[in-house]
């Protein structure tokens, strides 16, 4: 009787179970980041936890959809919550806080650094993918997109229809960028002259990962955070616009 009740319980409300799980992950990683005295790494920690769970799910089931292959999270659970529909919906909503007058304030140098930043990261990421033997244009573009940010990677990969494995690589590349930015910025700040609002805006536009830029600048010179964040907020939008379209066309013409 108890097993029947449990099975019936576990069979229902997949989405709610998954929301509770994600909430728990966010709660725990937030606590850990506060304990470490680095509250800004909470998001990165939570995403890494998600990847670790996907790894466990993949190992346990032998499937290719991570945790979504475990029945209690499948279907309308992690599959729906972490699917491209809700992902795109919430990403688009972040554009609400973007003020055009901030971009004007950043001026031409801000706009140039944004364009250079997205294009540079994309070229480096795609170049590394090609150097390591990836030849499919959609896969190379997706990995290059991951080097832009961990959002641009999956958005591009979904548009171009690559496998979940390639999308996971692109997320990992974006995470490496985000974490490295947080860690390295304080050490490299003097070397690259990161001590005034202009260079902070250039830095935000070139690196673009909002959490990395905000975290890195906070550890370097907290008064510069708004300047870096100002340009960084435009970065993902620009990336999701030009990488899957223009970027893919260029990569395809190189590889075919």
């Amino acid at each position: 009787m108890l097993t029947d009740a449990f099975n019936s319980f576990a069979g229902a409300d997949h989405l709610i179970i998954s929301i509770a799980l994600v909430a728990l992950i966010m709660f725990i990683t937030k606590k850990i980041s506060i304990m470490l005295g680095e509250e800004r790494i909470a998001s990165a920690l939570a995403i890494i936890t998600g990847l670790v769970l996907a790894f466990i799910g993949g190992k346990v089931t032998g499937g290719s959809s991570g945790l979504a292959d475990i029945s209690i999270f499948s279907g309308a659970g992690i599959g729906l919550l972490g699917g491209s529909m809700l992902r795109d919906y919430t990403i688009i909503s972040t554009a609400y806080g973007v003020k055009l007058k901030n971009l004007k304030k950043a001026g031409p140098v801000g706009v140039i650094s944004l364009l250079v930043g997205v294009i540079f990261s994309f070229i480096v990421g795609s170049g590394v993918a090609m150097a390591l033997g990836y030849t499919d244009p959609a896969e190379v573009t997706t990995i290059g997109a991951g080097a832009v940010t961990f959002i641009v990677g999956p958005v591009t990969g979904t548009a171009l229809g690559v496998s979940s494995e390639i999308i996971a690589i692109s997320v990992a590349a974006g995470l490496v960028k985000s974490i490295m930015t947080m860690v390295i910025t304080p050490f490299i700040a003097d070397l690259v002259g990161l001590d005034n609002p202009t260079s902070a805006m250039v830095y935000g536009g070139l690196i673009g990962t909002t959490s990395g830029v905000a975290g890195g600048l906070a550890a370097t010179a907290p008064e510069l955070v708004p300047y870096g964040a100002m340009t960084a907020t435009f970065y993902t939008g620009l990336g999701t616009l030009i990488v899957p379209s223009l970027g893919f066309i260029i990569i395809r013409s190189i590889l075919l």
Partner: protein, 118 residues
Amino acid sequence: MEIIGMGFVAFFMLLGSFLGRILGQFIGTGGDVGGVGLAMLFMVLTVNYLENRGRMFKPRTENGIKFLSALYIPIIVAMAARLNVVGAINGGLVAILAGGVATIGAMFLVPLLSKLKK
């Protein structure tokens, strides 16, 4: 009402998705290419246009949009949890190199571009 804010975002997502699909057909990949970026672009332009004309959103409408923004990292966590990480581990090197080189390279571009302003 909060639902109006959610509907506002939904409208731009649908618009972007439609335009992205046209672009996808045009490029020949099919699918929705750049739709998210287009949706964000049109939303930024619309919100800034409305605000310049003194038409601010009502706080509750705004709450609907802010609720969605607040969910973006948790949704990314859920997305991470359903990826084929076991498969990706084999490609771990490409992720570290692609992300790492892009980051360090971009940092050394900072002084070059900062000079542009001077």
